[in-house]
Symmetry: C2
Subunit: 314 residues, 2 copies
Amino acid sequence: MPELPFTLDQLRILKAIAVEGSFKKAADLLYVTQPAVSLQIQNLEKQLEITIFDRGGRKALLTEAGRLLLEYCERILNQCDEACKAIEDLNSLKGGTLVIGASQTTGTYLMPRMIGLFRQKYPEVSVQLQVHSTRRTGWSVANGQIDLAIIGGQLPGDLENLLQVIPYATDELALVLPSKHSLSNKKELLKEDLYKLNFVTLDSQSTTRKVVDKLLQDSGLEIQRLKIEMELNSLEAIKNAVQSGLGASFLPVVSIERELAAGTIHKAFIADLEVKRELKLITNPSRYTSRASEVFKKNILPQFASLDSPLRKI
Amino acid sequence: MPELPFTLDQLRILKAIAVEGSFKKAADLLYVTQPAVSLQIQNLEKQLEITIFDRGGRKALLTEAGRLLLEYCERILNQCDEACKAIEDLNSLKGGTLVIGASQTTGTYLMPRMIGLFRQKYPEVSVQLQVHSTRRTGWSVANGQIDLAIIGGQLPGDLENLLQVIPYATDELALVLPSKHSLSNKKELLKEDLYKLNFVTLDSQSTTRKVVDKLLQDSGLEIQRLKIEMELNSLEAIKNAVQSGLGASFLPVVSIERELAAGTIHKAFIADLEVKRELKLITNPSRYTSRASEVFKKNILPQFASLDSPLRKI
DNA sequence: TTTTTTAGGTAATCAAATTTTATGGAGACA
DNA sequence: TGTCTCCATAAAATTTGATTACCTAAAAAA
């Protein structure tokens, strides 16, 4: 670990003298007194064991060693300036990367709009969206690989304490039927009607599936009695299956806006039953929060948050 | 004139932490205490308005801004190391350029040998030889374009005081005759014999010519009575002329060693007359002396200096 | 020339920045 | 739970660097 034989200040002074051709002018340029400049150059010469300037005549002239050093000096100072600029850009959100985590659902239907809004405001910050399971997303937030995430499921207990979890919005999981289904005409279904349906569901490992199962169970339904026609691992696939009349499903309303508008899918209401889950924003309070992350949380998320979310009140 | 928001020491610390993964280890590596490291990083973070390390867990981890800064940090420190190495090379004569001045004669017959010796010892120092008139060489030494020079003539008066002039060697200007010349058989010529000769001389502007003229005049000869067959501006040309029997000439002995050995030219002795001039080393004491120049003067020149030269006594 | 001006070096004093010593708190690990 | 490690903090000490004042030498002007 070699000691550094010079400081950036000394290099700055060296350059100033070389530019101005005089110790005094360099001193003026740098807003210090001339002795300060003299001493620093003397230190530099002593430490490097070279003579840098010929002080004989009218002008301070560089020696061979001085010219050599000056070359490096300029390169070094340029790199320093560049570094400053890069950091400034990062601070003013003219650079950097924001890494966002999301579940399948939010990642597919919600995030694209939010990210679009963010990029519109800060086009020079690149955004990376990582769609993973709730569990994996949680760990990524915990160890800093993801700046912030929105999840719909339940975090593992140990993470709950580690991370900051803010209720963000309520996501209704609507019962959807093929438009031509016989039950589609009824104003309101009864819970018992569910037993008559064939379901197309997400596979049993998915967070959304677990949430739905739990909610139905909590409301008194015996989920073993529900008939599952098939399990698919993509919401889009399920939507297609429902539209094709293959069965019913509980799907996030955000994912079926277009289909509802087009009438290709029917959303049913069930008496005494609302299947809803809380979407939550998770961040890691014990970690550095990037400016981009801050801005995203403060300015972008609230525009999509439900009215009762704490995010609205910031 | 932007202030620099960081110091090289801070960058060095940053790098050490990044490498070691811990403030403490970095402190050990740099031979300082741990608080010193902490404070410097805090200063750095304050000045750049960024967070560089996540200090939460077991290891100190870089944030995005920290990684960005580290990149520049490494480049900057590398440049610094390179600069140091270049300066060291210069100091240890593993680089740099030595500029030597010389007159026609010394430049042609003496310098090549000296430079050869120097380059043998310091092959990485490049040497530049500039052959000019005494006057011009003197000025070049005065204004630093030439590090040191050997001259045979008289410096302009104003330069004599400005420069350091050290007697270096005595250069005999021998009277040479064609080997077949009738006078070549005489053991010793008389001054009067010179009037019988046809001379081939350097042109009258040349320093050597002036020196010869002056010496002959001082010894009582009437130089107007000497017959000048032709004036040439190159010693080699004169040598060829003499060898071809076109006339006699006064030539520096160093320039005819080969021809004397081969017997193609005859060196005559004149009673009561020695045509000699002092070769002098000139340097500029008011200017920076490069290491290469120092070494050349101390180690190379003495090997060629006459016994009574002050250079021998160093 | 002689005087004036300007650039740069030196020395003593002083202020500021860094380091160290000493100490405390938080998380990791047994 | 206790211990250990790592980092942060505070006060004191040291070092560094800057300023003021003064001096010298060389160039420019009178």
